[in-house]
Subunit: 730 residues, 2 copies
Amino acid sequence: MKKIFFLALVLSAFVYPSVAATNAIQHPCLMLTPGEVAKIKSGLGHAPLFDAAFSEAKIQVEKALAATPEVPVPFDASGVTSQRHEKNGSEMQLAGFLFQITGDKRYVGFIKGLLDRYAELYPTLGKHPASKGITPGRLFWQPLNECVWLSRVSQAYDCIYDSLTPEERARYEKNIFRPMVKFISEDCKREFDKIHNHGTWAVTPVGMIGYVMGDETMVRQALYGSKMDGSAGYLRQLDELFSPDGYYCEGPYYSRYALIPFYLFATVIQNNQPELKIFERRDELLRKALYALIQQTYNGAYFPINDAMKEMSFYNLGTVFALDHAYSQYGQDAHLLSIARLQDHVSLDAAGLAVAQGLAATPETPAFPFASAEFTDGPLGTGGGLGILRSGTGSNDSAAVMKYTSFGMDHGHYDKLALLYYNQGREILPDYGSARFVNIEQKFGGRYLKENDTFARQTIAHNTVTVDERSDYRGKFATANTNHSDRQFFDAHDPDFQIMSATDTSAVPGVAMQRTIAMIRDARLEHPVVVDVFRLTSEKSHRYDYPFYFLGHFMDVNVNLTNYVSERHPLGEKDGYQHLWLEAEGQAAGPVAFTWLSGGLYYTITTAADDSTKVLFTRIGANDPDFNLRNEPAFMLRQNAKSHVFASAIEPHGRWDGMRESTSGGESNLRTVTVLASTDEGTVVRVTGKKKLEWTLMIANGASDRTKKHSIKVGDETFTWEGDASLVKK
Amino acid sequence: MKKIFFLALVLSAFVYPSVAATNAIQHPCLMLTPGEVAKIKSGLGHAPLFDAAFSEAKIQVEKALAATPEVPVPFDASGVTSQRHEKNGSEMQLAGFLFQITGDKRYVGFIKGLLDRYAELYPTLGKHPASKGITPGRLFWQPLNECVWLSRVSQAYDCIYDSLTPEERARYEKNIFRPMVKFISEDCKREFDKIHNHGTWAVTPVGMIGYVMGDETMVRQALYGSKMDGSAGYLRQLDELFSPDGYYCEGPYYSRYALIPFYLFATVIQNNQPELKIFERRDELLRKALYALIQQTYNGAYFPINDAMKEMSFYNLGTVFALDHAYSQYGQDAHLLSIARLQDHVSLDAAGLAVAQGLAATPETPAFPFASAEFTDGPLGTGGGLGILRSGTGSNDSAAVMKYTSFGMDHGHYDKLALLYYNQGREILPDYGSARFVNIEQKFGGRYLKENDTFARQTIAHNTVTVDERSDYRGKFATANTNHSDRQFFDAHDPDFQIMSATDTSAVPGVAMQRTIAMIRDARLEHPVVVDVFRLTSEKSHRYDYPFYFLGHFMDVNVNLTNYVSERHPLGEKDGYQHLWLEAEGQAAGPVAFTWLSGGLYYTITTAADDSTKVLFTRIGANDPDFNLRNEPAFMLRQNAKSHVFASAIEPHGRWDGMRESTSGGESNLRTVTVLASTDEGTVVRVTGKKKLEWTLMIANGASDRTKKHSIKVGDETFTWEGDASLVKK
């Protein structure tokens, strides 16, 4: 389905409020107001986490004060000069804050000393010598870093504004701030006007320094785009980059990054133009975005869909910042405090103080309400979505995630209807994430590796079906970026039978896909079981590959395998297949059961199959001359067919404790998974197991309708149900 | 060097003390005495960890009391009947204990009910139907389990002895205990008289039931062997299986297992024949054995030398038991409490109570004194040894272990002079341990896998040199088991320069090996560096393979590699080589630097090489049709030479935090490692690095002599030093 662009809403809400006249501005006015300064002064010493942030800042700045200031001519991308300018930026910001709180003039001197040097250096700078790509930076190799620098230094300038002479202000503004704004908003206009997190990073510092200097044009450009007509700018970004549920179009890894400038500038706007009611916009969109972000985690880590690093979690200081401001702006929800307690950090501002005070006053914080949830994608919520089923809590929790979003811009992966599965606080069926080692010089300077394109983004790198060994959309960004999957239904009201279903008709022309994932609890089983039904329909014959990347150690499979023990070759030649070693293969004879061990539990995938089904075991790592990839294994079914239904049950079972040498329940409780019917009306799957367990799962294949009655006759048996799906347990 | 057998000491200490006459025995007399019963009664409610153990036992036994007792005819090896008998044994033991403490007669009834059934069943049993091997069990598939059962049930019997009628006692003894003792000590005499942990497991229950029944012959056989002449039995085992330092000949993994019966029977002996002064024997050998065991851990886990599971740690209940008794018998050393606090469990006896009371009374326990230490091997301490160098504490600690022990009996590995290296609380250069999944049915019933023999025990599976692609002793057990490496020197007195050296001339005839490992601190480096100098001398040409198995992700190597990206083959055909995929290889041009990332740190091995040195990267997993092996990578140098010195520096450096996206110091501070000299007199190695770092390490190659002066002239430079080794830092 084509993505619907979303202009109407933006334009209808469009007004030109007037920025307060320069002479009326009270400084500081950005991330600190005089009222907040008073609050922080009186709050010090009573909120331990805030005190910790405060003394950390003091130690850092005192160190800087003792050192010789350095403002080098920039020459490297991530080396000494670049790190120096970054450090100068954050140390100036902290010094500004400390001056406001302590009144200690040394901090003013420190900032002025540096600004004097930058006022000399900046006008001399041309294109940065280490820059690559079409938009070179000046102080840094890329404009993005320049934006971050200005967002910090504008705060420092704001904090010491009243301590400067008009001559000093004029010099700094003429030599640093105005040319830097010109560079960001004019020379890099394309980026500035982009509906993208880089756009938000660009408009934010321009708006911030605009407010400090009382420059109405800068503020308007930041809010409404370089043309000041609402076709770009912060508000348009806020309206288009998020769905009404708060889902950010690139996924949680980049949401975490985008929310920094979104919350930063919102706070600044709120302090300067409260009449914009920025935090109320789109039914409190920024609140929803933060809560959605936290929901998109398991054990703290963001679901690594699209380009994402697995190490990234809500412990990141960017999320600390956004969460503290959400807490502070949206009624101080105590549930957020439980996350803040885990983070063990607060931001160094009034919002951070509020959180620290909340924590000090609330020894027992209520748990954050992690729950099954669906997040629609697209500005109107019509661009597919992300489904999350959860069951259990603590280390016994399960989570199954299905991705049926839009593509997610430049960092999107070709992984329509992919599955991620977690249990025991760890990844069980993982998403590879990015092929990248952020900031690691040896690995292509920390940038995305070539294997990110050749493997990590490809369909076969994910737990979803690859058709004819070709990636979704044949790997064409332009097509992928204007399409999305569609939600079919999502129903988590019954904790014993939660289910979600989504379709895709755009990824592979001529092949319709519907994936339905249920999380089922049964009193006879210790753990919830994930049932996965992946239906493919086509009029032509195709090869369908259905992999499960698993973390843990192979235990057993009920298939006679030919294991390529003494010579190995890649599984294919392109679209990611060239990176998979084929380790073993075999022919199924009936339902396949594959068991592996991960942490303290066994896991078995029992999956429908017959003698036309091939079973493959692969491992990532072929055609990887620089050892850039992680060598993770996969279990895969391969089926040649026109239409086909893959149906699997994933059961955690038993227990294993190597230290106690104790084990139990190493054999799955499930026996068979069989597809009984697959018609336009519906799909019927049966799961059997020990203790006479027999589940019949009936899924409607037409448009969602909760009251529609369905009936399918198969041989002697007639299956009837009402609504989107039904489960009969015996 | 040939192993020296150790008979003299045993025989010289040999006496025949008299077991107390039957009528004088006060019950209970094994793991509880009347005095201890009183202590436990009054101690309840004041020592939380003991109370927890007590209520756990109560819950378990109450459950058993409520169930129908089952004493099935045995038929399986590890299934329902076997598990049932094991449970009956431990539940009887607990019930006996609970009866003594509570006086509740229901416990007596429970034990009697089961003993009545065993008295009927046991006389009917022949060879166990599921038994394999030469010594079938009766109640269990192997005699070992029968011994464990009797060690428990003898305690139960002891506890209710006084509540039984003479007729009942006569029946149980005639139908169960005497035939079981006959089975263990006569039918399985070979095992009973073996100087091996199985022998200790055999003599212990025989001695225990002997004390309960007042059977002097049984006790004597347990103490002195079936011939009662001191040629076997507990005392001989105690004298021969441990070195004077407390090192157990099979290594820590099996020491943990052996110390259970050793401490169990020692306590029983102490309670019945205190004149044997069993805990004082061999200068308090049992104390030393426990402390040595704890020293042979890193982050709680036992060094996995020889056959060993990596999950096994001092948290295991066997170690809890031994530690509690060591605490109780040897002056209540508060340092042990810090380990007990981590264990969070105590044993259910007077020793456990003492530890729990100690913990309750000591909120701040002093840390266990983990330190650099050498443990000699062999009953006289002349069978080589194990060297451990440590530096730092907490998560910043480093440990390097060198194995120069004797072979270690049936579970020994062919890994003379192997290196293990730990840092950050994790394995960095690991030992593979066993190829085994204990108790996991799918993996060959949980037994040792065939890959344990074909890979895990082989030399190439370890961080040591393999000569001509053949394992030490050509993999011949008989030769291996009568030889050992030799200590050269061990000196850890200077925390900035700790060093150990060992030699082996037996593993490969015609090749003399000397490995010297130093741990060096330098104010210019954040972390201690391990310097490894492996000298091989021979008159004939050989191929020397020098691998480092590493955990973490490959970052960079300064060698042009040919990476076999599209077709892989095993490195060799036998002696473990058949299990290594050759992933990449290249020719060195000078010192080689290989960097990988593990946890939050970078590691670089800088190693001496020239254009005659080949560099290989391998991965475990070839010829492994059942996916039994872990697919771990190795970095390897290959050198064809008569004599050769491998010299490497292993440096942890920098920092990486994916969540904060921060990195620093990704490049090693070291630049080159060069072998300057290698003569009969000594070896001289130079390490250079940033900040003009230049270390010259001089090692004496002759017999250890702390005062001997050495001098080697190389070109214009003359190196002089005194003693075994010297380090000059510039």
